[in-house]
């Protein structure tokens, strides 16, 4: 096994005590924290929802009911499909994609500016300024937006106070607050991969391109963006995954009558005490995430190691 798995005999290379520590730590992590819980959740998603005591009893059998509920709705429903849940799901994915694209568009000029144009001390100042909001809890950042966007919030109070409007705009009800908040929440996870990727581009390449008469737009399109591709893919993947799986921001900012998909999971799980269905919906979310990562890797031909560094 040694020679199959490792370049050098594992115990000899690390010494017994350290080797045991390595093995225990890694197995504990991979097996007990990562793999078994996921598989158990997968298993649970195919089982009936029974109280803990009935687990293993006759009521507890394998079924597709949770997945079919997601698509077709409850057995007593009149609609052909579960439009509510499917709608939440579709909206979550669609909005997440838009949020990702918006983040990319917003961040690119800044990342380029910091990496290649600003002088080093300004660049450092900007980077530190970027990092500070990132360390503030996502909930509190959303809360800050909530103060702005609430019906009697700062913006509405200001607008009505100045006399621009007679009545406040319903930012929260129309989910404007939510979308702004989602863009706000993970924007730095787009910024940093982008910045790192652009930063590593040799300035001579840009200058050479300009020297050859390439326009600014063309230089970006043909030189900078291809070079920054791994960073772009990495940023987009991270932002999309986090947005699709976001719970904190929707909890604070979504309007009472719309749900974000993780909120739906939360509902099944905690409110309706239907863990099996919660698990099934989680699996669906997981599948979306995995498909997204794989698609990004396939389309842009990057390896997983380049996405997360």
């Amino acid at each position: 096994m040694n020679n199959f798995l490792f370049t050098q005999p594992f115990f000899k290379k690390n010494g017994k005590a350290v080797a045991i520590y390595f093995l225990v730590a890694i197995i504990f992590w991979f097996v007990f924290l990562v793999i078994i819980p996921q598989f158990y959740m997968l298993d649970l998603s195919f089982r009936t929802n029974v109280p803990p005591l009935a687990r293993g009893g006759p009521e507890d059998y394998y079924t597709f009911e949770h997945y079919s509920h997601f698509i077709f709705g409850s057995k007593t429903a009149t609609d052909a499909f579960n439009f509510v849940d499917l709608g939440v799901f579709g909206r979550t994915i669609f909005v997440s994609m838009l949020v990702t694209i918006a983040n990319l568009l917003f961040c690119y000029p800044i990342a380029f500016y910091i990496a290649k144009i600003a002088n080093p001390s300004t660049a450092r100042l900007l980077i530190v300024s970027l990092i500070i909001p990132f360390w503030i809890n996502e909930l509190l950042r959303s809360f800050a937006l909530r103060i702005l966007f609430a019906n009697e919030g700062v913006i509405n109070n200001f607008l009505t106070g100045v006399g621009l409007l007679d009545q406040g705009i319903l930012f929260i009800t129309y989910d404007i607050g939510l979308y702004t908040g989602l863009i706000y929440a993970y924007i730095l996870l787009m910024m940093f991969p982008l910045y790192n990727a652009i930063e590593s581009l040799d300035i001579n390449q840009i200058e050479a391109a300009k020297d050859l008469g390439s326009s600014s737009f063309r230089t970006h399109w043909r030189i900078v963006i291809p070079h920054a591709k791994p960073g772009i893919v990495s940023g987009c993947t991270m932002v999309f995954m986090l947005t699709v799986g976001a719970l904190a921001t929707p909890v604070v900012l979504s309007s009472p009558n719309t749900l974000w998909f993780p909120q739906l999971i939360y509902q099944w799980f905690n409110m309706n005490d239907n863990w099996s269905r919660g698990s099934a919906y989680s699996i669906i979310l997981l599948i979306v995430s995995v498909i997204f990562v794989l698609t990004m890797m396939r389309i842009f031909k990057v390896r997983i190691g380049e996405i997360i560094k």
Binding site: P37, L170, S255, I265, S289, I304
Partner: protein, 402 residues
């Protein structure tokens, strides 16, 4: 070809807007922490006060709106968050380190698979990690009967530590991988050759080399744990952490006490960031002294605008400070002039509101309106909402009261 002034100008404006977007909400929120009104706002400004940092207030309808210092729920949450953070650091740093070191030892054919497994947890949505941990441990606790296993299997803090460790280990792993990439393996061999045992090599060569990474992994692990919500909200079960307390508060209605909390966190963050930056600069300076200068020059060379002036320009700094001073003075004079600070102002405001409220109450009573509409007028705060899992009605106003 020179970037035209127009483009530069637009770029400047864009950067300004971008940073305004990042900081504006935080700044406004910070200001609202000092407004004595029950609803976090700037206009109308009631009184300048520190009450949301201290004891909060008893509202005109008799409701207690807790401030930072008087909010035991928040304190309990912070304590559990600290315990969880400590637990996550003790688990995830050693795990990340072990996994990163072993990455250098697995055969190259397996390396990609191994790496993929290691980074998988950060690609999982946080809610899923929380859920899967809870369902698994609930089952384990169910099988374990009444003893110790059942206890820890239903202990929210324990489960949260496990669930967070699952993905925070990956961040630690990545930090260690980055540091190990620059490790010169011949140092291990040199130590072996000089007679060190494998264990001694680990403790005398590798661990000291990794110690900066251990420190940053510990800090990162703690911060990620401290601010995590998505995973924690599931795995914490009936306990509360700082984030779940905040979330349930926000859900019940927004209170300036949260602004005060956020401002405290922002202040701590800025202090930490400045300290870190100062330390880093000092270390860098020391390093630069012993290294060739060209490294720095090269970094500067890799920019379009080569003729930069080093250092933060003092005039700009002075201008910024002056601007802040001017605004602050203006704000302060306004506050003083309009008698908008101190106990007298607060008393006056409260009195006015109380009388209004009583008036309202009377009209309501005479019109025999329902209680529901009445409570709709309440502007949030710290009601006794109990266990969020036990209260389905919370979800009906998911997202707030607007």
């Amino acid at each position: 070809m020179r970037p035209s002034y127009f483009i530069n100008f637009m770029m400047g404006i864009y950067i300004f807007i971008f940073f305004a977007y990042l900081f504006g909400p935080l700044i406004i929120m910070s200001i609202t922490a000092f407004n004595s009104a029950e609803f976090p706002s700037i206009t109308p400004w009631e009184c300048f006060s520190f009450r949301w940092f201290n004891e909060g207030k008893i509202a005109y309808d008799g409701q207690h709106l807790a401030g930072l210092l008087s909010d035991w729920r928040l304190h309990d949450g912070i304590i559990s968050s600290l315990i969880i953070g400590a637990g996550v650091v003790t688990l995830s740093v050693p795990i990340g380190m072990a996994a990163a070191i072993v990455l250098t030892q697995v055969r190259s054919q397996l390396r990609d698979i191994y790496y993929s497994i290691s980074i998988m947890p950060v690609l999982f949505p946080g809610v899923i990690i929380g859920i899967s941990t809870v369902v698994l441990w609930d089952r384990i606790a169910g099988l374990g009967g009444e003893g110790f296993i059942a206890d820890i299997g239903r202990n929210g803090i324990f489960l949260t530590i496990l669930a967070q460790t699952c993905f925070i280990s990956t961040y630690c792993f990545l930090i260690f991988v980055a540091r190990l990439q620059r490790f010169d393996q011949t140092q291990e061999e040199a130590a072996l050759d000089l007679g060190a045992s494998q264990t001694q090599v680990f403790f005398k060569i590798l661990v000291p080399y990794l110690s900066p990474a251990i420190a940053s992994a510990a800090v990162i692990a703690f911060l990620f744990s401290f601010e995590n919500y998505n995973t924690t909200v599931f795995s914490i079960l009936s306990d509360q952490t700082l984030t779940t307390v905040i979330a349930s508060k926000v859900r019940l209605g927004i209170s300036p006490a949260l602004s005060a909390l956020a401002l405290t966190i922002i202040a701590l963050t800025i202090i930490a960031a400045v300290t870190y930056e100062v330390l880093r600069r000092r270390a860098e300076k020391r390093y630069a002294e012993s290294q060739e200068k060209f490294v720095k020059e090269k970094a500067a060379d890799n920019r379009i605008n080569k003729k930069y002036k080093a250092g933060f320009k003092i005039p700009k700094g002075i201008a910024a400070i002056l601007l802040i001073v001017v605004f602050a003075t203006y704000g302060a004079t306004q506050v003083v002039k309009n008698d908008l600070y101190g106990q007298s102002c607060i008393d006056a405001a409260d009195k006015e509101k109380k009388s209004k409220f009583l008036e309202q109450l009377q009209t309501l009573e005479s019109n025999e309106l329902t209680d529901e509409e009445l409570s709709g007028g309440s502007l949030g705060g710290n009601q006794d909402y109990g266990d969020i899992f036990g209260d389905p009605s919370l979800f009906q106003d998911f997202g707030g009261f607007d």
